[in-house]
Symmetry: C2
Amino acid sequence: MTGRPAVVLLSGGLDSATVTALARAQGFEVHALTMLYGQRHAIEGEAAKRVGQALGVTAHVFQHIDLRAFGGSALTDDIAVPKSSPDAGPSQGIPVTYVPARNTILLSFALAYAETIHACDVFIGVNAVDYSGYPDCRPAFIAAFEHLANVATKAGVEGHRFTLHAPLIDLTKAQIIQQGLELGVDFSLTHSCYDPSPDGLACGSCESCNIRRHGFNEANVADPTRYAPAQPY
Amino acid sequence: MTGRPAVVLLSGGLDSATVTALARAQGFEVHALTMLYGQRHAIEGEAAKRVGQALGVTAHVFQHIDLRAFGGSALTDDIAVPKSSPDAGPSQGIPVTYVPARNTILLSFALAYAETIHACDVFIGVNAVDYSGYPDCRPAFIAAFEHLANVATKAGVEGHRFTLHAPLIDLTKAQIIQQGLELGVDFSLTHSCYDPSPDGLACGSCESCNIRRHGFNEANVADPTRYAPAQPY
């Protein structure tokens, strides 16, 4: 039996892997979309491919876009990715790893893909708990984009209703990990680090590594991440 | 004297040239953004460059994106561009030249560019009179995107206010031409045709050519467009 089609933004990270498994568990036929946006870690593309294959997606489109033409973020520009002690709390304010309008761009491509394959459901793994400093990870952003999708598209005009699913938005990283494990996600295939070594090992000290490591600790689950030998920070 | 920065989506067509001139006349320092999206007429890029230079833009960024990966439109896919008699009225319903989520994607890039250069104003030359069949040319779409921009971005969160300007939305093509001429736009530099010849001549029989030709007629202005020799349609 084939379910209704849905587009799932799949970055290859822990969150989007869990979202993909959730969409599959809800009976959707998953059309994965991986956006590679000129960030340092093109290694994410490989992780996304592995995760998509492991979770049995129906189709997988990769889009390369060049956000470096605009600059303005540590993830696309020559600004250093900040490092901190593994025990540091979350940073305050909007971090330098924030990419201007990133989720708006990712969702606009997901919307184009969805409209093309006549899907009315789009999934994104944003999270407002660990990423409270990112304006485009908040519930107000999700609601605004869902409204936009319903006026922007042929499907919306013709009376179909787009739903933008952000099922992780209120979960802690530990809860996301628990949910992923229950759904059979193999987190060793995922990649979270903002600043990996050339052979793909996680740095262990960027904000994304810290949040991930705390999540495994809190969930009381062995962390399958392969870390590079410790560097001074 | 330098004005406030604004991002203007500049396709190289008649409408976006007029919008660029309008933004300049309102005192904005124009940062032009040309999105080349895998459509057949890469010739638009050249037109956009000429227009930007003639109108004295401060900066001009070109972004290549591949909407052909999704398909679904006569402008990005292998669907034939429809031709009609020059006297035919506008088509009914949503045309096959509609590109799924196109303006959402263009505006999301414009928003990223604006946020990076600390601009709070974005201009787009959409028009609801001639393009009433395109969902993403309507006032409701513009309002929804402006709202999204104000929740999606660092600037919005920090209390700056994004304004999305669509100054042509209620104008007829003739009125747009009149306005452009008053502002000194050289329309011979612009390009509108959906299906130009390899050397850049307009086909004269696609919807875009028809709307443009009617506009010059109605405005009682000589049409500077270079048309290819007439083809049977």
